[in-house]
Symmetry: C2
Subunit: 460 residues, 2 copies
């Protein structure tokens, strides 16, 4: 019985060193792997092995086949999408979670999971300046958080839906810059894509509260039932920040559930100088931010808060006999607040990260990335061949070469083909835009400078 434990011990030590070396030498890898679709799959057997294989052969294939097919999200020059700042102490937490393999379906099924989730979500809530009555729960992603928020909003507006099914006519509002998960969640929950209103945004890509108010009034006049508003703090395209307080005022006027999607930019509110981004957030019904984006934690870990846990619970609780426990009256059973019944011990890695870096270490990282972003913004502004297309409050800089969309697309492809960085794109005001999202825990000023030099030298 103990061969697999011996093998684990030996391979575990080897992999700890491999991981430490990987963190030290990440820059030696191309950020984007130079492979075509099918490039890895065709090197692997089409059928699983009949007999078990030696651990060394598995590790060798990992090094030689898997790693070269990986896009290195932990590379200091990975600047695509939003950053992931997964850090070494978080990896330790994940090792332990996998080994313990506990599952907080109910409190009793692993008290440590439920309680550490409560404790770490409390710490984070305090750092963010959110009210103490906000109840915190960890989901996998902000998309999953959006589905839960929308379902809770439906529960508040149409409690009959739980029993009888959703009636048509509920309407949800978000800016035209909101993440696609809002629309996807609305489709899943049975709201329908037609009933998602994309409210226009201003020159800085922020939701316009007066347009929101008018859209709600118009739907009410048409006999529809507005039920939910989503405000975004750090939109995906440009990291714009919706005016939360004014949006909250409109939501309150009409009695709608307000969900705040701060998946990317939320952590910045830990900084006093960025606290303004969450002004009014205490009035939200639900709020999500992703420590697996910009808070040094590897995926997946999305922090969801609600000041109406009673409604979230009503939307999701169903207790089968085999999960009733003697502590149901006095303990939190997290399955009552979640579509997924099983849940990994995710809070353990967050606990490692928050303790290891502390609030000061987190603030230092956030400020460093924001400074890099602002310096890059300045460099873009100083180059007459380029234009910046959105304000820079965080680590994301959106810019374009002053030429055609095709020229910008070609520029992006040229830069990414070098393997020296991975930038992504979006469309803003109908134009193709290049995004540089700074946020890896190892990124330096030199990294950003060299990426910008590469962009400049690759332009027509």
């Amino acid at each position: 019985m103990s061969k697999h434990i011996d093998d684990f011990r030996r391979a575990g030590h080897e992999l700890v060193d491999w991981i430490a070396d990987y963190f030290e030498d990440t820059r030696k890898y191309p950020v984007l792997p130079p492979i075509e679709p099918g490039g890895l799959a065709r090197q692997l057997p089409r059928s699983g092995p009949g007999q078990g294989e030696p651990m060394d052969r598995i590790l060798e294939d990992f090094y030689k086949l898997v790693v070269p097919a990986v896009t290195h999200w932990n590379h200091p020059r990975f600047m695509a999408y939003f950053p992931s700042s997964g850090s070494p102490p978080g990896v330790l937490g994940e090792m332990l979670s996998a080994a313990l393999n506990t599952n907080a379906i109910v409190w009793k099924s692993s008290p440590a999971n439920t309680e550490l989730e409560g404790v770490t979500m409390g710490w984070l809530r305090q750092w963010l300046g959110l009210p103490e009555e906000f109840f915190g729960i960890i989901y996998d992603t902000a998309s999953t958080g959006a589905v839960h928020a929308i379902a809770a909003a439906r529960e508040m507006a149409d409690p009959e839906a739980r029993l009888k099914g959703g009636a048509r006519g509920l309407v949800l509002y978000a800016s035209d810059q909101a993440h696609s998960s809002v629309e996807k969640g609305a489709i899943a929950v049975g709201i329908g894509r037609e009933n998602v209103r994309k409210i226009g945004s201003d020159a800085e890509f922020r939701l316009k509260p007066d347009l929101l108010r008018r859209a709600i009034e118009s739907d009410l006049q048409a006999g529809l039932k507005p039920f939910c508003v989503v405000a975004t703090v750090g939109t995906t395209s440009s990291a714009s920040v919706d005016p939360v307080a004014e949006t909250a005022a409109v939501a309150e006027k009409f009695g709608l559930w307000l969900h705040i999607d701060a998946a990317y930019a939320g952590p910045a509110a830990i900084l006093p100088e960025r606290r303004w981004i969450l002004e009014g957030a205490e009035r939200a019904h639900s709020f999500v931010l992703n420590p697996h984006k910009w808070l040094l934690t590897s995926a997946d870990l999305s922090a969801f808060y609600t000041r109406r846990p009673d409604i979230l619970r009503r939307a999701f609780t169903l207790v089968p006999e085999y999960l009733r426990t003697g502590q149901d009256a006095v303990a939190t059973n997290l399955m009552d607040y979640s579509l997924a019944m099983g849940r990994r011990f995710r809070s353990l890695k967050l606990w490692f990260v928050l303790r290891y870096y502390g609030r000061d270490g987190v603030m230092e990282m956030l400020r460093r990335h924001i400074a890099f972003g602002q310096r890059l913004a300045g460099a873009v502004d100083a180059d007459p061949r380029f234009e910046r297309v959105a304000p820079v409050h965080f680590g994301l800089v959106c810019f374009r070469y002053k030429g055609t969309d095709e020229q910008n697309q070609k520029l992006l492809d040229t830069v990414n083909a070098t393997g020296k960085t991975f930038l992504s794109h979006t469309v803003l005001n109908g134009r193709y835009v290049i995004r540089c999202a700074i946020g890896n825990f190892q990124t330096t000023q030199e990294d950003v400078d060299e990426i910008w030099a590469l962009v400049r030298s690759s332009a027509p």
Copy 2:
């Protein structure tokens, strides 16, 4: 910059040894921790640290505070709920996933993730004898799989719902033994609890296809729209196996989506002598089993298959501009088939497990657990003070002391309070029943014998 990497290296080696020791000595821990609600939380600070803390202090608190508050799912005498057979090689895969921290939103965002997911899901599909056209994708849990199945079923029956929202009147069918996630999924998607029909089961807790047919006919006559049937292979209470082929025939007759929930028992179909449990499964529209239950893989990893990926995709695809790539026409973008957009590199641990143990190793484990279950069933049958209440096809044995429900509940509490095992309960035919679910990778015959001796000596 490198202090946290040095700390990782040192602590990583320490934790590899701790984990190996933990696997070797798990039996020294009480399965259920002797703590009350709040017992861990009150030992931890109410606020996160301002300054970062030394790694050693975090590890010390992990050992001294967290571990004693954990329910040991990886304990060889953990027999509650369904087993988790999380194994050492899977932990290695998780370490690497956390370190690489890659995310297969689209193929390009990490080709290795998407391709290894396809490869491992293909291997598993072959071992299970499912048709080659079944498309596989990894979700976190079978509950999440149920939501996706129900949403795809709705897309097939009522394609307007995506645009206009769900209309009332869709009806879903499952046995009265089906998992609560089916009902929860139906509520979330907007079907409504009233429109979930719980079809009666037979003396062995199997769905009765004639009752299913009659329920569908009755709903059709009432002007309702039957759209989905869920059959269960290994129900949560008793691990009963619904007659899949006959259920499929009814579903086909009325054109309904058939989802098979084989979360627990599915892996047993790898054994020729248990292949019968999936007879007819090739006719299902979707199918789910959890390698994190009985296939040596730590949570979370749920394998979802569908022979209608076109419909699943139609239900869930939404491609924002910032995620369009040059490979969209030729590569699989997994976000198109999922509510959650982000996805951890889960297939890596499955690849480690399937390769390390091989099909033979997996079969040996499954057979060992089934033999333990059958021997325990025989012991129950041989004791006149106890009765067995369900057939034993796998590692789950359901039994009761021939006395009152209260006596059985007290018996269970007495046994669990020893810390020597953790059994759970259910209600079958209106009576309180004790469940012993055998499935840990380190469980021995001696473990099972001692648990049974403990139960006998604790009975009135």
